[in-house]
Symmetry: C2
Subunit: 200 residues, 2 copies
């Protein structure tokens, strides 16, 4: 199943094709491919080049580890994420390495790194669904995470699968039209709320 | 000048080529191209599909607007960013539209949207340099930004230019080797700090 973005202008192919399925095929991902995804994340830009991103990864090839990570998601996400052959957690380092002060851009820069990972995944034929619905306290405990790091999100990763694999309600959501705000609602110039010329 | 990422595995081309120059050529960007960049940002994923990103844009075709935006950067950034034909500010909506509560993923999701924009820009031959060094209070005042929105970062955008356009110290930095942490420092499995098999 494909759900390309319906744009007025053609986008770079993986940006156009990327979407977030909940149904994943029962097909593993090679370790080599995962390494390439992390390499893509690695080269994102970040404030002071601090690279405040960390990833914890679990695959179905180690079922016990996989189950531990699945248990760190809210129940509603476990229902479908359990189809994905790979789960990941993203974690932000909340302070700067170079001076120990708070890094307000830590989560933003995790977003940049994950953005790279998502695009690389799409070019490899993989799909990815991000979840804010995680259990941060449980993650800290399960993985022995030290102070100064914040669990940010989880990712389900795999080859997109048949929506009929999902519970009925989710199967319907999988088919729903993708929506986004129009450009003039969020691209301004001169004054807050004033649409920029090129998006009017 | 090009500075591709030095990776052990080939990445998707624009991920490999992306880097953050400070020298920009004196060459404008067509409005049509800017529109495509915002369209790319638009289709990023976000928590509850809230799309908490906003952009304020200024180009050298409106010099007064451009100068106003330049004055929202810290001095050290103004020195080189003034070469770029386009400046942007990114802004996060700090609360959810759907329930008014704080959105902890707002900055993260701005990062995802900017990540899309950067990749689209790279495929169009453009370069982009993000800056955390902005003056948030001045931005709020200059643009009449309401409560509930946070200035996040600025972007300088254009065609990469000759490093000799820069003050000497910055010209030297422009030539410096790009560095990143090794994968095993930030990709874990099983336990915090334990490198995952595929990155050992």
């Amino acid at each position: 199943m494909e759900k390309p973005a319906e744009t007025s202008y053609p986008l770079h192919d993986p940006l156009q094709r990327r979407w977030s399925p909940r149904a994943f095929a029962d097909r593993p991902i090679a370790d080599k491919q995962l390494t390439i995804l992390f390499e893509a994340a690695r080269w994102a830009s970040s404030c002071f080049n601090e690279q405040p991103w960390q990833f914890i990864v679990a695959t179905k090839s180690t079922p016990q580890e996989y189950e531990r990570m699945l248990s760190c998601l809210v129940e509603g996400n476990q229902k479908w994420a359990k189809l994905a052959p790979v789960l990941m957690l993203t974690v932000a380092r909340s302070t700067f390495d170079h001076n120990g002060k708070a890094n307000p851009h830590a989560w933003h820069d995790v977003g940049l790194a994950v953005g790279n990972l998502v695009i690389q995944a799409t070019t490899l034929g993989l799909s990815l669904h991000q979840m804010a619905g995680i259990l941060p306290d449980r993650i800290r405990e399960v993985y022995g995470m030290p102070q100064g790091f914040d669990p940010v999100a989880a990712l389900a990763l795999g080859f997109a699968g048949d929506p009929t694999l999902l519970p009925e309600e989710l199967a319907q959501r999988e088919q729903a039209t993708r929506t986004r705000k129009p450009l003039w609602e969020f691209v301004f110039s001169g004054q807050w709320g004033q649409p920029a010329t090129m998006v009017k």
